[in-house]
């Protein structure tokens, strides 16, 4: 079991490292301008000039994929950060103190989860209007309950442990116990939740862009590119393959990492 976890961790780590390196590179340099059109090079198949070919406007797909993956990555990172920080605050207070506030907040989180997540994000985005910040906000709010629930259960478990009791007896206050003693002990669980959350965030952002309520053209996004490529599935299959492959790679890396962390626990 341990060995399998190691394999997961290593492969996942390697894939993540490569994708993150490419994404960071993409912020400074891409082979072509992701939004530059070239009428002469429409639908050219993968070649040395265009690694993943070009699309219906003659834009270089590789450059667009790298750029789009960068956007997805940043959005997913922000979403996870919002969900994680808010989730930790809510979850820790609920789990440690319990009582009526815990009951109310848990029910609120439950009711957010009860909604189809996507529908809720749609509502938020259609009220606030599409745009990167609004997507981050909408997805961020949706991600709070999953973190809050896990943090809460971990805090409720740790609260009863002997070393927390002994910290209490040594006169440590509530906040000191929560954030100095309990939080570091929940890190293994939190870390695998973060990786899973990151995957879900990438997927959610891609699906929203796929439906046209995410990143707006002409900016590249993996979801909207996948949606565009549908029309050319037979004439230019590399368009869909390249874009889909990028999403798979991005998610696979973090999935393996998360799986490995979970099994290591």
């Amino acid at each position: 079991m341990k060995k399998r976890a190691d394999i997961f961790l290593c492969t996942g780590g390697a894939i993540c490292l490569i994708t993150v390196c490419i994404i960071i590179m993409g912020w400074f340099w891409t082979p072509y301008d992701p939004t530059a059109m070239d009428a002469a090079a429409k639908f050219s198949p993968p070649s040395l000039q265009h690694l993943l070919g070009t699309d219906n406007f003659g834009r270089d797909i590789f450059s667009r994929v790298v750029d789009g993956a960068g956007t997805s990555f940043v959005i997913a990172l922000c979403v996870v950060a919002i969900g994680c920080i808010a989730g930790i605050i809510i979850g820790s207070l609920c789990g440690y103190y319990g009582g009526l506030p815990d009951l109310i907040l848990t029910r609120v989180c439950d009711s957010i989860t009860a909604f189809p997540a996507f529908l809720l994000a749609l509502v938020i985005v259609s009220v606030a209007g599409p745009g990167t910040e609004n997507i981050i906000l909408a997805l961020g709010i949706l991600f709070i309950p999953s973190f809050a629930r896990i943090v809460r259960s971990e805090f409720a478990r740790c609260r009863e442990l002997n070393y927390i009791k002994s910290a209490k007896i040594m006169g440590a206050g509530g906040f000191r116990i929560m954030f100095r003693h309990i939080l570091p002990n929940t890190l293994p669980v939190l870390l695998s939740t973060v990786t899973i959350g990151f995957n879900n965030a990438v997927l959610s952002e891609a699906s929203m862009s796929f439906l046209g309520i995410g990143i707006q053209p002409p900016y590249a996004s993996l979801g909207s590119m996948l949606s565009d490529s549908q029309s050319f599935l037979y004439s230019a299959p590399w368009y869909a393959l390249g874009t889909g492959g990028a999403i798979v790679l991005l998610i696979l890396g973090f999935s393996l990492l998360g799986e490995g962390l979970q099994q290591k626990r």
């Binding site: 009582g99 002994s166 209490k168 007896i169 040594m170 006169g171 440590a172 003693h181 890190l187």
Partner: protein
């Protein structure tokens, strides 16, 4: 001599228990300065609940408590949460039964021993470190500098129990509450820990409330013994008297239950 701990008519009732069943039922107990008091009784007799009441660890939503407990002259039931935090660790040190689970696994020993000082004093980091090393040394740990930097899983159970004792005495409390501190340890380590507690009592004049179900331990360490049965105090006398002439039938049973060399186990 002044009383370090004075418990008057303590009653603890758990809400999910039968209405007439008290975990602690009208307990009166006091400890003089520099005294080692043993509190003995079978499982469920209310020893640990008494200790939890003193250390403020009883869950407030599950237990109803009445009576009075004064620690070094301060009534703890009328304390606010903040006052209680000031008492804990400063006037009262606690050592638990399970040293292995009583230390935070992701923190090195040093900061955990310093915890009390951090919460109660405005000492500088260097001063806290000096005091922590001093406490580790007083707890007879070899090479305190190294242990200071180690993690709990790198130490043995006996060493961890010494670390727990060091953490409990670092702020020089008036009373040390030891809840079965030797139960989880093997016999030779047990003897060392008992010797350590006795030394701390002698050198620092610290009063110790020793909770145990092991009468041999109590006999070696304590000067006075209180016997509890079903939440009530049934006997409270000097240690020699109680072992020579137990008065209460329950005490007699307890003493008869001590395994000895002369008596064969059937």
């Amino acid at each position: 001599m002044a009383r370090v701990l004075n418990i008057r008519d303590l009653r603890v009732h758990f809400k999910d228990a039968a209405p007439d069943r008290f975990a602690v039922d009208g307990l009166n107990l006091s400890i003089q300065e520099g005294e080692i008091l043993g509190l003995v009784g079978e499982s469920g007799s209310g020893k640990t609940v008494t200790a939890m009441s003193v250390s403020g660890l009883l869950p407030r939503d599950k237990a109803e408590v009445s009576g009075s407990i004064s620690l070094d002259g301060q009534e703890i039931f009328s304390c606010t949460d903040k006052e209680m935090l000031n008492i804990l660790g400063d006037k009262l040190g606690v050592v638990f039964q399970e040293p292995m689970t009583s230390m935070d696994p992701v923190m090195t020993i040093g900061p955990q021993v310093e915890e009390c000082l951090k919460n109660h004093s405005r000492l500088s980091r260097a001063e806290r470190r000096r005091r922590a090393l001093e406490a580790l040394d007083q707890a007879d740990l070899p090479d305190p500098e190294r242990i200071y930097r180690q993690y709990p899983h790198e130490l043995s159970g006996g060493m961890l129990q010494r670390v727990m004792i060091a953490a409990a005495i670092v702020s020089r409390p008036r009373l040390l509450l030891a809840d079965e501190p030797t139960t989880a340890l093997d016999v030779s380590v047990q003897a060392e820990i008992l010797a350590l507690l006795k030394k701390l009592n002698r050198e620092q004049g610290m009063a110790i409330l020793m909770i145990s179900h092991d009468l041999n331990v109590v006999r070696r360490l304590c000067s006075r013994v209180c016997v509890m049965q079903r939440g009530k105090l049934v006997e409270d006398r000097a240690v020699e008297d109680i072992f020579r002439q137990p008065r209460h039938p329950y005490t007699k049973q307890l003493i008869a239950a001590i395994p000895s060399r002369d008596r064969r186990l059937v």
